[in-house]
Symmetry: C2
Subunit: 439 residues, 2 copies
């Protein structure tokens, strides 16, 4: 290496894939776009850079420490760290031009300059869906989001997942019933840590907030109860009539579960879990987390919830909504590490076309005709030994090679070789198209 | 507006689209991906942020002034300003894992903090294709890139464009013939300005470099000659045999034109233009610019060329290549301003489904069945007046509404209304699918 060569490398915490893996990743993105579109969600694209005053309107906390932020002239700029704040800004800014309920998805990169660690990325794709109402939004939308995400996860080839549902009103109602509503936020945060820190530590924290140990135990018994949806409904029924907000939450939870079933989502793929609180104050109704059943330890792969005030920082008008999000980069990283894609072939083309004569015009015409028939064709124009060309096709897992030499030109045909079986025969382009497309 | 509301707005120089326009933009991106893939190009995705030492390896010039650059801890970071430097870094970094010729496309946002002006963007999509060889790369690849781009532009619905071809060797050979090779770079840059500053000013600049005015005139006469490809070939033939490099350039130019024709690109869509030099030193063979014929004043909409050394800053090995690029954000902006998309409907869904009963389970089942039949269905669950719901469908240009009330549930059918004709009738889901998909 000469002295003035710069070592090519990328920043740590950034994912970059080799071509075959990138193709699988891109296909996953395409699948998500297709599913979201099939439910009539518009796709949005917002700038990666926004004014810091906009992106950090909420201010404070971990977020502010993690963002990439810089000055340009006299402008204080931040790179987006999620797709929700840009959505809030977008809806407020374009309010009069949008129709409500506004259903949108966005697949885009977001940036968090947090400490780099395995499986944590500083640049990653989020795939969000949200439904925003103008003033009001029917609770049935809280069933639509998980129905969309269940379709999406299945379309990605993930069958064993469970979308776990809870409703903030159930928890808040429960705190009301036990007379501990004044510590609502702290209690939610503590309960949210149940899986991480365990029952005893949660009870200890709750008693620290002034909750009697026996009450804390009863609350925890309910919120951590396991069972089928109907078993959990039966337990909830024992508290009916004691708190309006509790009863409302239970009714909403049932309505969402019924609508999810009617939408064709199997009970294998969703269920109540009253321990889910989601850290954010923001949520007011249904909340979601999604367990990847083959390995629950990876944490939720798709989360979200209902909120009552999307854009209060930007517009003086209540915009309730519900949304869910997949962190695609992390999900891909985990699945890849588990060998999920090992059997997925991702060749760049169906056919590698090799001209065998100096005049390549017939070969080029044939390539164009094959493409018109819906076949992807890579041409190989280098002056290399035949063996090298075959190795190239093999290395890229291209399933067919097509040769066009003097004989083929004379016959008006092409020779097609199946790279797996080794079979080769001469045929018309129409015959080749049929063979290759029915592969 | 209350006092603590932040005005929602975006930074100047950033494009953000309303949902219907965004849908058209996304479809254009999808079209480009499909065309590039049909030629067997792999899609790549590289980080938006890279080490400044990498992205600015070439250093100096306007680029360095325009980039967004900031420090994070002790890391000097730059936002990518094109997709070529990241490609060079990628190929050098993953050299041993790639197969050559390596054909890749990349569609991604790039950043240039230049002075904001109408139609110039600080964040914009570039859509690049490149073919990279290992040591060598056949000249036929210089025909493949414009063939791909001609397919791409046609697929985008742009019919009236002309890819203008030149070859650096022709120009360099010409300078050799006239004995003015020592001022090669300056002469190329000056000739490149022909359309902008006019013949007289070009001659004045050239004589400033020590070229005799008569020679400058002769050179300019040749490089600005108009005519069909065969007419220009005839003019070039007059200089044959005087310079090896010139003869090679002419042979390459002809070979590229022949291969382009064989690939199915019409002479309406490509032609020689010997005045095209492209500013960059970087190019060594064929160079391209693409005129949008309805309005040539907008400048080239797709440009590029052949280069001999992609990644010399990162790897001690010659990697020749050829590439072309479309600046999609600017192209979209121009086409949109010309009303190019005015007649393009972009509804979020084929169907707006309206449940007319309190129990929405049949409606949700029907929506799922319609989606399984390949129809995109948005459900509308809000408690609004019927008229409001129709207005919503109309405003979003959704072509069909589907109603499911008591009668429909009893009959096991759905009512479908064509929103354009106003026709409405009750039918099975299978019948509805046929009607809507054959719209």
């Amino acid at each position: 290496m000469s002295d003035n060569i710069i070592k090519p490398g990328i920043l740590s915490g950034f994912m970059e894939l080799l071509p075959e893996k990138q193709k699988i990743f891109d296909e996953m993105q395409g699948t998500l776009r297709d599913v979201f579109s099939s439910y009539g969600f518009f796709g949005l694209d917002t700038p990666v850079l926004e004014r810091s005053a906009v992106l950090l309107a909420k201010g404070g906390g971990e977020t502010e420490k993690q963002v990439y932020r810089f000055d340009r002239g006299d402008t204080d700029i931040t790179m987006r760290y999620d797709l929700t704040v840009p959505l809030a800004r977008y809806v407020a800014m374009h309010y009069s031009e949008l129709s409500f309920p506004f259903k949108r998805y966005q697949i885009g990169k977001v940036y968090r300059g947090e400490r780099s660690q395995k499986g944590r990325f500083r640049e990653f794709y989020q795939c969000d869906i949200d439904i925003i109402g103008d003033g009001k939004l029917d609770v049935l939308n809280e069933a639509e989001c998980p129905a969309v995400m269940a379709s999406a996860l299945k379309a990605l080839g993930l069958k064993e997942f469970k979308i776990r549902l809870n409703n903030r009103k159930v928890l808040n109602g429960l705190f009301e019933i036990y007379g501990v509503s004044d510590k609502k936020t702290e209690m939610l945060r503590t309960i949210d840590k149940f899986e991480k820190i365990g029952r005893d530590n949660v009870i200890e924290e709750l008693t620290g907030f002034g909750v009697e140990a026996s009450k804390a135990g009863e609350i925890l018994d309910l919120v951590t109860c396991a069972g089928s949806n109907s078993e959990i409904e039966a337990k909830l029924a024992g508290f009916a009539g004691k708190s309006e907000i509790f009863d409302e939450g239970v009714a909403d939870l049932k309505k969402v579960a019924e609508a999810l079933s009617a939408s064709g989502v199997s009970e294998d793929n969703f269920g109540y879990d009253l321990s889910i609180a989601r850290g954010l104050d923001y949520y007011t109704g249904t909340v979601y987390e999604t367990q990847f059943l083959p390995d629950p330890s990876i944490g939720s792969i798709c989360s979200g919830g209902r909120y009552d005030d999307l854009a209060g920082y930007f517009i003086d008008r209540p915009l309730p909504g519900v949304g869910m999000s997949i962190g695609l980069t992390r999900l891909f990283y985990i699945l890849d590490a588990k060998g999920f894609f090992d059997e997925t072939p991702a060749p760049p083309a169906d056919v590698l076309l090799l001209p065998m004569t100096e005049d390549v015009s017939v070969a080029l015409k044939s390539a164009a005709e094959l493409r018109n028939a819906g076949i992807s064709v890579q041409t190989y124009m280098e002056q290399k030994k035949f063996k090298k060309k075959m190795e190239y096709a093999d290395k890229l897992h291209i399933p067919y090679t097509v040769f066009i030499g003097e004989d083929e030109i004379k016959e008006g045909k092409i020779s097609v070789k199946n790279m797996t079986s080794g079979e080769q025969s001469m045929m018309t382009i129409a015959e080749a198209a049929e063979l290759i497309l029915n592969k």
